[in-house]
């Protein structure tokens, strides 16, 4: 038995809690116990666009920076370009001291002789993104939603979220996404393929208003294009030419036609966030396991996935925990683990290149 801290969750039925939080304080529109669907708005706020910090005191030649006697606007006031923000008096009036706003916007603040104008304030509506029940409301900030479904964690994702029906575009987990196969029937779907080979597939998916894409791998050279797509892309294995792991593909196939929430948000450090697909299979809630901290023990029989080297993406079970002192390339203190791959093949893999899986 060996402590082994790397885990990827691929679970057919799980009860999860997911936070939906506004970037700025606003108004929460749901209450505890409410049932929500992915498109439901759960909270809203106003987000500022461009900010302009205007040194009004200097323009009015006020040495002490105290603007309050001269201000003609208050915080929260809407102003148009050319509106008077402040007007001088006394000596400064001799210099024709009137300060007009160079931009339209809302007065965000006024202090230390400056006035801050927030232009292009726009409403932000935060949708539930998940189907579930509101478990808790954080006043003015957001809500926690309890979700039941299948969970598939990815390794990389584009910073988007989407919701749609799972649609497998390939029969084989190693097969490329064919742009020709992306047609009107894909509208609103979360597409699944082994690999995203090129830009044309992505552009076609965009044209067809696809809601998400789950692939085993794609080329790192496509990352900028992927990030520019309006839908989330989740990569399950890594960059390059890797098929989707068998168990991941099987789970997605099993739940084809079911609705899924796809989140591509990835943050490796400072509160790690992994991209994920949650599928609301009708039977996924039955006997669903709670999302607890996973076990970190690698033992004989543990289900693992290989995450580096020629067997990347392959899954199997541990058959032997080597007592050996290392691998030829990977450093002297690294243990090797024997694995029987799902296809029956045996492989010896450095422990850091494995993760617990399932």
């Amino acid at each position: 038995m060996v402590y082994h801290p790397f885990v990827t969750r691929v679970v057919p039925g799980m009860v999860m809690r997911r936070e939906r939080m506004l970037p700025l304080r606003g108004e929460v529109l749901v209450s505890t116990g409410a049932r929500v669907r992915p498109a439901d708005v759960v909270a809203r706020t106003q987000v500022p666009g461009e900010m302009r910090l205007l040194n009004v005191a200097r323009a009015l030649r006020l040495d002490d920076g105290d603007l309050s006697p001269y201000l003609r606007v208050s915080i929260g006031d809407a102003v148009e370009q050319g509106d008077v923000l402040a007007a001088g008096s006394g000596v400064s009036r001799l210099f024709g001291g009137t300060y007009r706003s160079p931009v339209s916007g809302v007065v965000g603040g006024a202090s230390h002789g400056r006035v801050l104008i927030q232009s292009d304030r726009r409403p932000l509506e935060l949708v539930a993104h998940y189907r579930g029940t509101v478990l808790n409301v954080m006043s003015g900030l957001g809500a926690i939603i309890e979700v039941r479904g299948a969970l598939i964690q990815g390794i990389w994702g584009s910073d988007k979220a989407g919701f749609g029906v799972v649609k497998c575009m390939v029969d084989d987990p190693a097969q490329d996404l064919d742009p020709e196969a992306i047609d009107m029937s894909c509208r609103g779907s979360v597409l699944v393929a082994g690999r995203c080979p090129d830009e044309s597939s992505l552009r076609r998916a965009k044209e067809m208003d696809v809601q998400g894409l789950v692939v085993g791998s794609l080329d790192a050279g496509l990352l900028d294009v992927v990030q520019a797509m309006p839908f989330p892309v989740v990569v399950t294995e890594g960059m390059g030419d890797y098929a989707i792991s068998g168990p991941v593909f099987d789970l997605l196939r099993a739940y084809e036609g079911q609705e899924a929430s796809v989140s591509g948000f990835t943050q490796p450090r400072g509160g790690a966030v992994r991209p994920e697909v949650i599928i609301y299979a009708s039977f996924a809630g039955e006997g669903a396991e709670p999302e607890t901290r996973p076990q970190f023990v690698l033992d004989l029989g543990s289900q693992v996935r290989i995450v580096r080297g020629p067997h990347t993406g392959k899954t199997g079970v541990v058959t032997h925990l080597s007592q050996g002192d290392g691998t030829p390339l990977g450093g002297s203190r690294v243990r090797e683990i024997a694995i029987r791959l799902d296809g029956g093949e045996e492989a010896l893999v450095a422990q850091p290149n494995l993760e617990l899986f399932g």
């Binding site: 801290p5 790397f6 960059m239 966030v273 002297s332 450095a350």
Partner: protein, 596 residues
């Protein structure tokens, strides 16, 4: 700290962003020695979210390898050491598992106060997001980020934009003591106006390190809308830089805002016998100790998963540069951004498809704990290490690695000892690989000992020194450094193949070896660990061996090591052949010479 028992055994831990290591230091005979080590993945991120989990696991590994009980009920550390030999007398730890402190730098003149403040940020794990200087528009600090042009609204307009990014700290400087007042006050008011607007304003730290005479005004403007810290002016006069106050405050803020908020930090803190240091601080203490004790000029580079740290003592002056976003694991993508694919691939002895290299690098960043599985993968990661070192050195050179002699302008001046640490170096399969990474990345000049912190102990020994200096010193002397050998690096350029150095090596058994080393080559002369030899060096008129003068010869005694004596006659600055095939052939030739 009051102790009612003698301190005779310690666990020393280092929690990096990817790997946590724990070592047992104990009295062996009458000397403190490294007895056992354990290492595991750092458990600071989800789903573990508790740094102490990994420390416990590494301690359990030490338990298994020594048979000594260290954790009570597998949970609590047994302190002090018991009669039956279980437990230890204390634990010390260094940490760099936190994310960097996000800072904006605001000042008056880009080349004076702003530059000084940027240099001060090198002391710790700081990610400078934006730089605002009143004498220019706004430029972001990193070469990888886009220069943003002014929008016509002046610096005040840009400031609003700048401060929206919610930095942890705003570093404000400007004006010499007794000098400019109005522009400094203007900058402070800009900052205050924006902070006052945001609800979160009060939580943003502001460090003021400008004109001393402005302090009352600065307090009046900023105290109510920020968490204000006033320190000594980084530029008290035009020609004097004083970074100590700013560096101390930046380090303190990193401890408070970042390190102290690492999940599980409180539990780890409750175990330790001395204040926890950052890995960079611990390494700095050891380097200063080594320099003082042995009267050495020393340079160390720590290539980690998320950060690269270059520190040293040259001419009695300590300097340190932490590149908080350059590393060979989590931060390998940033190395790629800054060095470019060509900058990495130029170090490979074989051709690699750029797309394939890009894929491998991104994958390493996504799974930084994984280790190379093929020779190609290994050499690609080692190439990234060279680039991370070179990029960090570039910053350090412009700030503290200043060369006295004109011959070394733009180079690392001769030092006595070069130390490498970080798994990419210490766990390189062959010692020659680590030596070559150090030579390529740092390009040391003159004669120096190359060593590795093989046991990954140095920062922790720095922390241990505050509790038990003797234990730290003895463990450092006996187990701290793994000698790779002695490098003799020639400065200058010449004609490929022409003799650059004539060398006579007298071994202590009386044997003598005479070698002529051609320009452009690397030559390894056997000298095993524990042996010394007297080396007589006669460089040609175009080359210097670290004496500050071309053609000047010298005789010196050198140490052996795992590699031996490495004569680096590739010249300084090292210029790789531009043409791909020729370059790869040359790199292969160097690798063969080093037995790789």
């Amino acid at each position: 700290m009051e102790q009612e028992y003698r301190l005779e055994s310690f666990l020393v831990a280092d929690c990096g962003s990817t790997t946590t290591r724990v070592a047992l230091i104990d009295l062996v005979g009458d000397e403190f020695r490294l007895v056992a080590q354990g290492q595991t993945a750092t458990t600071v991120e989800a789903p573990w979210s508790r740094i102490s989990t990994g420390v416990r696991e590494a301690i359990r590994q030490v338990e298994r390898s020594t048979g000594r009980l260290l954790l009570f009920d597998q949970e609590q550390l047994i302190v002090p050491e018991r009669e039956n030999g279980s437990g230890v007398d204390g634990l010390v730890a260094t940490v760099n598992a936190a994310t960097p402190l996000r800072a904006d730098v605001v000042g008056l003149i880009r080349d004076l106060s702003v530059e000084s403040m940027l240099t001060a940020t090198d002391c710790s794990y700081v990610d400078v997001q934006t730089v605002v200087a009143r004498d220019e528009r706004m430029a972001s600090a990193g070469p990888s980020t886009v220069l943003r042009a002014g929008n016509g609204g002046g610096i005040q307009a840009l400031m609003g934009e700048t401060l929206q990014n919610r930095a942890d700290v705003i570093l404000l400087s400007g004006g010499t003591d007794g000098g400019a007042i109005a522009p400094v006050l203007e900058s402070a008011r800009d900052v205050a106006a924006v902070l006052s607007t945001f609800e979160e304003g009060g939580r943003v730290h502001v460090v003021y390190a400008g004109n001393r005479g402005m302090r009352p005004e600065i307090v009046a403007v900023l105290a109510d809308c920020s968490s204000l810290h006033v320190v000594d002016n980084v530029r008290p006069t035009l020609d004097k830089e004083d970074l100590a106050g700013a560096e101390e405050e930046i380090s303190r803020l990193y401890h408070e805002v970042k390190m102290g908020r690492v999940p599980g930090f409180g539990e780890l803190k409750s175990w330790v016998a001395a204040p926890m240091l950052t890995t960079a601080e611990g390494l700095g203490l050891v380097l200063r100790y080594l320099a003082r004790l042995h009267k050495l000029d020393v340079l160390a580079v720590d290539v980690g998963s998320s950060a690269t740290h270059l520190a040293g003592v040259i001419g009695g002056r300590y300097g340190s540069t932490v590149s908080a976003r350059l590393g060979v694991g989590y931060s390998i993508g940033r190395v790629l951004d800054e060095a470019g694919l060509e900058g990495l691939l130029q170090w490979l002895p074989f051709q690699m498809d750029p797309g394939e290299a890009h894929n491998r690098i991104v994958n390493k960043g996504l799974r930084p704990m994984t280790i190379p599985d093929t020779e190609e993968d290994l050499l690609l990661e080692q190439a990234a290490a060279r680039a991370a070192i070179a990029l960090t050195l570039e910053r350090a050179r412009s700030r503290w690695i200043g060369a006295q002699a004109p011959l070394y302008a733009g180079l690392v001046p001769p030092v006595d000892l070069v130390i490498g640490r970080g798994a990419v170096l210490t766990e390189a399969p062959k010692a020659g690989q680590a030596a070559l990474i150090l030579l390529d990345g740092l390009q040391p000049t003159g004669v120096c000992t190359l060593a590795l912190d093989q046991a990954s102990l140095l920062p922790q020994l720095g922390a241990l020194a505050s509790v038990h200096p003797v234990a730290a010193a003895q463990a450092l002397a006996r187990d701290g450094l793994f000698r790779l050998g002695t490098a003799i690096a020639l400065t200058g350029t010449g004609k490929e193949g022409s003799v650059a150095l004539k060398l006579k090596v007298e071994y202590d058994d009386g044997r003598t070896l005479r070698v002529e080393v051609p320009y452009g080559s690397l030559e390894v002369i056997p000298l095993v660990t524990g042996k010394r030899a007297v080396v007589e060096m006669r460089p040609s008129s175009r080359f210097d061996v670290g004496l500050g003068s071309r053609g000047r010869g010298a005789t010196t005694e050198v140490d052996g090591g795992a590699v031996g004596i490495i004569v680096d006659a590739r010249g300084r600055p090292l210029a790789l052949p531009r043409e791909g095939e020729k370059r790869r052939a040359k790199i292969q030739e160097w690798m063969v010479e080093l037995g790789l």
